[in-house]
């Protein structure tokens, strides 16, 4: 009946038992993605960490749209960090937008984000401003 890995037993002074769930360190900034449409262009704005956990939200931001935008803009103004899964998600967007024929812009990158995109030479795949 002893406590296995997973939950942490925390007994308070009178012996009551609560089960503490431990959250990973990097969940500090909540992700927010919202999209707007204008002039046949779908704009997706990213706030906070753009990483592994953002997958579902990001996918929904462009796949739930009724029409077929001609251009896409990903606004990174609020994004402070990208990891390799974020790069993968951008590739998915590019694929959705037509792959080699796609017109996807990435704008408002801070220096860190810019650097990450540059190492992966993503300016060969996206228009980056």
């Amino acid at each position: 009946m002893s406590c296995q890995n997973g939950g942490v037993r925390d007994a308070n002074s009178q012996g009551a038992t609560t089960l503490k769930v431990i959250f990973p360190d990097n969940v500090d900034v909540p992700m927010a993605i919202h999209s707007t449409v204008s002039n046949n262009c779908l704009k997706i704005v990213i706030e906070g960490q753009f990483d592994l956990h953002s997958h579902k939200e990001f996918l929904a931001s462009y796949s739930d749209v009724d029409f077929n935008p001609q251009t896409y803009v990903v606004d990174m103004r609020g994004a402070n960090y990208l990891d390799s899964s974020a790069l993968g998600m951008l590739l998915l967007l590019r694929d959705h937008a037509g792959g080699d024929d796609s017109k996807v812009e990435i704008v408002n990158c801070n220096p860190d984000v810019r650097k990450i995109l540059s190492i992966a030479s993503f300016e060969q795949l996206f228009q980056i401003h």
Partner: protein, 567 residues
């Protein structure tokens, strides 16, 4: 449902105890009775009832103390405790809750109220049981995943044995989490004599990352071994990954050819952080990523162009995956590129930089678990003669072809885009008892072909090889000349026959060039020269039984003889 649930009732007054037990039995519960606090604890320990009802004031041990002990015994399992009390003061009730009680029931007992309270607590109890079950399931699942990954890692080690990295001129660290984070380091000697190195970083974690390393290693290692050009290997690797990966997955790669003869490092860099070449004179050169990582672009859009750097013996190439740059200290600060560059520009022997870099990174991390995700490699440029002979895979073929002939001609278009050596080499090796001579044969073919193409067809002077800008410039000019070529060919004519217990192989290479005056050339002298530009044909002369020029110098014929069954 409630028939299987057991409730412990503790009250020193038998009347209250009996009354409460009757109420509970009517609700369908199984009832255990205790007469005081100590009795309650003992009964709980033995029978582990699901719910406990405790009178607060009892002799021997009171309800609050009993509650505390019972909660302790039950550990991570939630056992609802209800205090039975005729205390009405708010302070007393607060004390009950602080003692670990989950609710109270006051006298006179109301069956309706008791039922309501029990329902709520039952629900909580069930939730907690479910949660623990799920937690245990997850833990089990986790264990399975880790076992799978260890198995995958074991398979990978067979495909790409890390022994290939055990060389005098290579130092490396590979992340202990490499099986899970997709870092890969490969080194293999080409049949051409060059050393090929691959540093890879797959996107994703776990099996997704690990599984891609196996086909990548297969392609890289086998093509390297067969003597393929770096650019052809990187094209094939990209195609391979492209075909197996869904969109969104890719592999960042630095692929290197270190050519000890030419003194060059050729690199295809896609997605890996800046790499560095340090020299004994203190110079530090930065190699930036130029390409999109592997697995993203289709064959048509893929760009295999490489960067070529000239290096001297003693220069070192240092490269690493982003784990190094992102190594974090206790405050969450990244190690960063600036720090790396500072260390590499530091005073002292450049051979010490690797150790210093390693030391500082480990200091930064400070032994924190999970951050030990470092993959780092240093390759030192050594003289060609220090390299051991290329190992040959023992083929399993038992069939032999001893008398055959072949003609293979490459036209203009093929000369521009196709590197024929692995193919020609394989044709000759296949079905011949030439075990142990593969490397020699490759060298001969390579030199003859390069001579035919560069000096014959493209008419590039050999003295240009060592001059201003050295090989990097030469290579540039070569690329340009090849691109601008309008007409030309190189033809291989091979014959093999058996004579006097020996296999005699004749290889003729003819090019469309103007030829040269070969009558006064002495190759023995040039071989002694030791410099590459003289080495080519001189070496061929040494390796073959005979070497003859024909035509107007645009045709070279060599004869190789091997005893049948020799090695």
């Amino acid at each position: 449902m409630s028939s299987s649930v057991r409730i412990l009732v503790a009250d020193d007054n038998s009347v209250d105890r009996l009354y409460l037990s009757s109420i509970l039995r009517k609700e369908g519960y199984q009832v255990l009775q205790a007469v005081d606090g100590r009795d309650a604890v003992e009964q709980f320990e033995e029978h582990r009832p699901e719910i406990v009802l405790l009178d607060v004031i009892m002799p021997v041990m009171d309800g609050m103390e009993a509650a505390r002990l019972i909660k302790e015994i039950s550990g991570e399992f939630f056992v609802p405790v209800i205090f039975l009390t005729s205390l009405t003061g708010k302070d007393d009730l607060v004390k009950c809750l602080e003692a670990g009680g989950d609710d109270f029931l006051s006298k006179p007992y109301s069956p309706v109220i008791l039922r309501a309270k029990l329902n709520v607590l039952q629900r909580f109890r069930q939730m907690q049981v479910t949660m623990l079950e799920q937690r245990d399931q997850i833990a089990l699942h986790n264990r399975d995943l880790i076992r799978d990954q260890e198995a995958a890692s074991g398979i990978f080690n067979c495909v790409a044995p890390s022994g290939a990295l055990e060389r005098d001129n290579i130092r490396h660290l590979i992340s202990p989490l490499a099986a899970f984070n997709g870092d890969v380091l490969l080194a293999e000697r080409s049949l051409s004599g060059s050393l090929h190195i691959l540093l890879g970083d797959f996107i994703g974690h776990g099996l997704t990352a690990a599984v891609g390393t196996i086909p990548l290693a297969e392609v890289f290692l086998s093509m390297t071994h067969k003597g393929h050009l770096l650019r052809d290997i990187v094209v094939e690797c990209n195609s391979k990954l492209n075909s197996i990966f869904p969109t969104g997955y890719f592999c960042c790669v630095n692929m290197i050819e270190m050519n000890m003869l030419k003194g060059t490092i050729e690199i295809w860099a896609g997605g890996i952080p800046d790499a560095y070449i340090t020299s004994e004179n203190g110079e530090v050169r930065r190699i930036e990523s130029q390409h999109v990582p592997l697995g993203i672009l289709g064959p048509k859009s893929f760009d295999p162009s490489t960067q070529v750097f000239e290096v001297s013996v003693g220069d070192r190439l240092i490269m690493f995956t982003d784990g190094v740059l992102e190594a974090r200290d206790a405050e969450g600060n990244d190690f960063g590129a600036a720090r790396v560059e500072e260390i590499l520009s530091g005073d002292g022997d450049i051979g010490d930089h690797f150790d210093e870099l390693t030391r500082q990174i480990h200091e930064q991390i400070g032994g924190r678990e999970g951050d030990d995700d470092i993959t780092l490699i240093e390759i030192e440029m050594v003289a060609d003669k220090e390299m051991e002979p290329v190992a040959e895979y023992q083929g399993a073929g038992s069939s032999e072809a001893r008398d055959w002939r072949m003609t293979y001609e490459l036209g203009t278009s093929s000369l521009k885009s196709f590197h024929p050596l692995p193919l020609i080499h394989q044709i000759i090796m296949e079905g011949q008892d030439l075990q142990g001579h593969g490397s020699l044969l490759y060298t001969v073919l390579a030199e003859l072909y390069n001579n035919a193409l560069e000096h014959g067809v493209l008419n590039m002077p050999s003295s240009k090889k060592v001059g201003e800008g050295g090989f990097a410039k030469y290579y540039e000019d070569y690329q340009k000349a090849l691109e601008e070529l309008e007409e030309g060919f190189v033809r291989f004519e091979c014959e093999s026959s058996e004579r006097d217990g020996e296999v005699e192989m004749t290889i003729r290479v003819i090019d469309s060039g103007a030829g040269f005056d070969y009558h006064n050339v002495c190759f023995d002298k040039q071989q002694a020269n030791g410099q590459y530009h003289g080495r080519g044909l001189g070496l061929v002369n040494q390796l073959c039984s005979s070497m003859t020029f024909k035509g107007n110098g645009n045709e070279i014929e060599v004869v190789l003889r091997t005893s049948i069954g020799s090695s």
